[in-house]
Symmetry: D2
Subunit: 449 residues, 4 copies
């Protein structure tokens, strides 16, 4: 027996030695080799260690190195060519569900499995979102990255499925480490430090809601700021005024969504806003049954560029000559809504804006305004047009001060969405449509005369 | 203006009317129609309402109705045929990454999008897991469901990615509503009510760990029960004895994984056990640096069936005739390990078992024992063979009382896994290999003589 | 300088030496000496260490040793005699607020400071409650402990002030380690294991509320079990029946407090029940505005003893001779409410019971029933008398099956309490008072005849 | 029966009527009457409603009205005079434990019961702390409030017993609503807004710990700021420098308590600091076993006033004439430590400071410095004297820039405390004592010469 035992022991030792050598041999591998190992069969059992190793390599790369790495991944982690060819051959012969299924499996790029396994490391999802941030930045210069970006998008779309999102009210009891992110991420109406933040979340008639994801820790995905008011507001400055009078939430009739910001560039294209607004509407309606109006107070980022284009276009038929002249009052660098000639523009601007939303279209025959496309696509309707409603530098530069309300009426959302998505109709309130009618008939008369 | 306003109002009314009719028309739709609506463009904006409607239809169906529904989904929600044919034509012409990518997208069955959208309802993930439970039950009778099951598997594999799993220690401070699930789901060594449960989680030298998923609420996915001991145990009855002496965790040298149970039939095929064991090893090692041995005390569910096969096989060469006779002692309905003729079988049974693990293979040339395949595939090694180690009815019926230890040695896991996965080698301790040598030489001599 | 430094060093060393010796000298002190040190000036700075040392000594004592220790504390930790005499002398001279204040301070027994400092150890409050349990047990044999018990009571009354209590709903999501305490502490209607417990907290029409204290960890102080029903119940067996039909809480009109149990003997005399019931009434009323009736279904623990006393008393005038005879039907060991002669007792028993509550008094001229005293003192009114309402062994033994409802009507509580506390009036519903009238007139006639 | 029923009904109605009238009659009562009702027997059952009513009256009073109310309480809620006289008479006759106990109970002012019952309202404890803030503010003008303040103190001392305090680490994950309180309450080294706060709690080598009380919600009682460093610091400016190099906590050898602030004026006199420091020491020692030194970097608020007193005192013998002259360099309004004549003062200032701590005493024969009294009373020892260590306006004004380290050596605390508390000895390190020796011998020589 001692002989047997000794020989066993020898074999044991040699086995350990092999494993030791292997491990040593592997240490200095570059990230691409690590990725290959990670998607290999061995990766199954060592995914935790290997994925961590990839991430540490990645962290050591500079921006250029990271882009080069992504390009190499895009090139090397496509589908298995042989498997594709075989599946194609089969599909040629018999065009049935089985064949298609096989084709689908065979054409899955290995990069998808790579991304899934990279997700196994600690904070994998957050790291992947950051990785895609680099990727989407680089895609302009390196179009070859498009398919890899598609893989990220496909998986993120599945992982960030609405079923996995968690809506959290944010308030002054929220940890400071989370609050500071809202200061950082607010993209519509800048938050100037802690006192400004406090003025948006501490008063009882102000709310902030954000979506979080269980795997993204304290990183918000998107958030919306809400004001509870006793009437639909017509200016952002009055809404945010620090000396405004606070009202009791129970007395509010209107919830105004005055700012929606996406937080993660790495989640570009994944749509959260639609769900966020509707879930917040539902939550507020439960808490405050007196709320009747759910409206936005939204910027019109494409308005000025479009209007200026028309003003320069000698062929245009949108504006009557007299109106063209009147609009020159807005060319003053510091025009004021108090100036008579500007104030007098009010009906004209409203009419032009109604035209911009309801009649004008871009080259792809779409509604021109991106914010409009977002809300109309969600099933909201265009409810009101407010001139001189955002007199900040930004508001003047983009929209000559114009803002609008979109209204979310739960019982109409489906019909509105269909009207817009299938027939391209912009559903608008009677008053907005009436603005257009008046504007068009006046212009027609002007052109006719 | 009054004319304009009136006409606007009329149009408004008609618009509302249309929406009302649509909604009424839609109400009594069957679940398949609801699914069609859900994956349609309109589904984007109404996914929450529509997915909820599908689920409510589903809940109203009886088992047969549910299976019929799944079969219809499998038939109707394949890929868009036209898109596939177009993509195929392109791929015929140019076999490049673009073409394959397009092919991959085109061949994705619409059922995948359906499942993703069904996930948007409240408790969507849990409901989908329950739906797949019905599906996998029915698949034997209805093989046409296989591809749909593949879609579930594909998405679950992505959603239940290890990065999304949460390891929770379970103890006597855990809510009763969660604890009762472990009584229900324990599949290896039955838990007889609350006192038995308590004896497995309250003592300081006993632990229970489970994986949870953020979208599955209080439903565990898999759990493992651990005993902290001062030596590697050789019998389950002594391990679970209620009168055993408790030891201080700091004095334990050995963590024994004595029961691993999957909880969700609807997650069949998604592998959690591998990660669970390794994460628990890591956690225990951090908490209790004195732990040196991480071993299982595992059943051998295929042993008796295999051995009985050999005993009936007149052509067999595994057992010497004398040994065949000796084994007859186990045919007594109530054989006892105290009986001399049984007790004397000890070396023989150990040798036969070593053969069963190390030498015998099934028709597909695999290790026969499914539990062995699981642990060897995870990179564990076969460490010890214990006869008369589980004398429960179950233990006798399946394995003539045999149990084994698999050992998880973190530094060897990768090498062990490779040896097994790539070369089919079962890594075993010197003592187990020595058992095989002795058994084989004795048998050879016996056959030779 | 070196000389200076050396001499400093010497002094340093001697200082450390002294401290070392002191510490060594102190180690083996007995608990009384430790207590003396703890209330001394030095105790201020070392209270944490010293109080822990007292507790460890206490834990090592057996029950007799603990009682002896308490007796010694009672003897030695009275007020400082000299300070009392001085303060008395001052008070003799001038009877003013200053003098009284000084007297109050001087007469405070040192045991109060001792208890306060013992509270500084880990889990100090819980340990003190357990200590008082020993004390109250021993007080019968050792009346000298009464003042010390008064000190505990005084401090507990302050520490367990309602402002410090936390009301928690208990349900099936509560940790098992807390739930098991309710099985242990239920004193009115025994809970038979986990399934019985579950039937009392999991159904939507059943609630359990308990008071906790921040310093008592998971130990409940008192709890009440509530059934939500559609009518005022008249029998405990039907209320607890496992096959009863569950109702939706929103449909309930009545909250029945069917069991109230104190959990801590060491808190004897500290009154929580009053606050508990009222806070639960308030909480349920907020959650379920449909609730109209808040009633108990209470035992009548003193009824049988009182009635049997009358039955044996040859001088009694409460019962008519004919009624005395009729009551003999209850002397059958297994009398059944179905037996005609028993069933016929119904009106008589109700009348006798009305007399028991409204007319009979004990030697101290109090309402006889302790449960009645509790609820009437809280401002409840006696609402209903139910015969054959608790046919358990307990219910027969104590009350011939009788139970009653007390009703908590928030708008009447203050007046009810005053009527009872100041004039000794038992506020009862018209129907109960009518029972008494009928019983009395019948009896009068019988005695007259 | 109908007669009976009717008469019952009449009585019922009259009863309700009485209760209604009482309630109406009571409504407009002033706070003192409400307090009387609250401590009366009726108060037992209605304490919740009545205490709330007192608080609402209190909230409506202006500051003067509140002080008047407190004065009236002080006058009217003393002990029951008759009970005191009876108890006195008894005590005259027999001077035993019983008599003293009775005397103690009889002399308890009713204001104590009042405070206990006011504590039953929502947020009662916090409101009482705020009430005492008013009281302590007014006590200078109204010495008659002293006894009432003593009642508050007595009860707070019991309620804020160390056993009830909760130590919480505060960091950047703490809710903003709590963090802002630290900005408000920091009393030693002002926190200038959120960025400054962040620099004190977010870096890994900075900590902040606070005591909370379960009944005080988010209001901290006291907090300490700690810096983890690699050596004992000798200047506050270098410690707080924003450009300092952060170190890993594991590498720190020293925990510096550089700021301790009480937060609640209403808890004046209740001592938390002692426990806070010791508990933080214990917690840090557990977490970071490498920590060897636990020292403060403390201000010396009484130093300059004392030194200036001596400089003006023509009879003084502490300073040699030459030293007196040299100190004139500090009379420059903007003296700088870089100026040669100031820099040269270093040894002199250290010597004078050693004298200030070790030799000088105030009229009550106490150590002069209040911060020194606090730390020495806690058992710390004077470890180091640093000149030019706090060059802020505050540091120059109070201490000519001087700061000191007190050292908490757990094994010496008891001995240090006893030395100080019983013999008045200031325990100091050899180096500090050596400074004194040198200073005294030099001065003696100077005076002698």
């Amino acid at each position: 027996m001692s002989v047997t035992f000794l020989s066993e022991l020898m074999s044991e030792i040699s086995q350990r030695g092999r494993s030791f050598l292997q491990r040593n041999r592997e240490q200095p591998r570059n990230p691409i080799e690590l990725c290959e190992a990670l998607v290999s069969r061995r990766g199954e059992v060592s995914s935790f260690v290997l994925s961590e190793a990839v991430w540490q390599s990645w962290d050591r790369l500079d921006r250029k190195g990271q882009v080069d790495f992504l390009i190499e991944v895009a090139q090397r982690f496509g589908p298995d060519e042989n498997a594709v060819l075989e599946a194609l051959a089969v599909a040629q012969e018999r065009r049935d569900a089985d064949a298609y299924h096989r084709l689908h499996r065979a054409t899955e790029p290995r990069s998808q499995e790579l991304i899934r396994r990279l997700n196994m490391a600690k904070q994998g999802t957050l790291r992947l979102v950051r990785m895609r941030e680099v990727l989407t930045d680089a895609i302009g210069e390196h179009p070859a990255l498009a398919h890899l970006d598609g893989d990220f998008f496909h998986l993120f779309n599945s992982w960030f499925n609405r079923g996995f999102l968690e809506l959290r009210p944010i308030n002054w009891n929220t940890p400071a480490s989370i609050l500071e992110k809202f200061i950082e991420y607010e993209a519509v109406h800048e938050i100037n430090g802690w006192d400004d933040l406090r003025s948006r979340i501490e008063p009882k008639d102000r709310r902030l809601f954000a979506f979080f994801h269980p795997q993204m820790g304290e990183e918000p995905l998107i958030f919306v700021e809400v004001a509870l008011t006793s009437q639909v507001p017509n200016s952002i400055q009055s809404l945010l005024a620090t000396d405004r009078e606070e009202i009791a939430p129970e007395q509010a009739t209107t919830a105004v969504f005055y700012s929606i910001s996406n937080c993660q560039n790495g989640l570009k294209g994944i749509s959260f806003g639609n769900f966020l607004i509707k879930q917040v509407v539902e939550q507020l309606r439960n808490e405050l049954p007196n709320l009747k109006n759910f409206v936005t107070l939204s910027p019109v980022p494409g308005f000025r560029r479009w209007l200026d284009g028309i003003r320069k276009d000698e062929q245009q038929t949108v504006l009557a000559p007299r109106d063209l002249e009147a609009l020159a009052a807005l060319d003053e660098p510091d025009w004021s809504a108090e100036t008579e000639s500007v104030y007098a523009l009010n009906p004209l601007l409203q009419g032009v804006a109604a035209h911009y939303f309801l009649a004008a279209r871009d080259k792809r025959n779409r509604v021109i305004d991106p914010v409009a496309r977002f809300h109309l696509g969600n099933g909201a309707k265009l409810d009101n047009i407010h001139t001189f409603a955002d007199l900040s530098a930004n508001g003047r530069r983009n929209a000559y001060g114009l803002m609008v309300n979109y209204r979310y009426e739960m019982s109409e959302i489906e019909a509105n969405h269909e009207a817009y998505a299938e027939r391209g109709d912009v559903v608008a309130s009677p008053s907005v449509r009436s603005l257009l009618k008046k504007f068009q008939s006046k212009t027609k008369i002007a052109h006719a005369s």
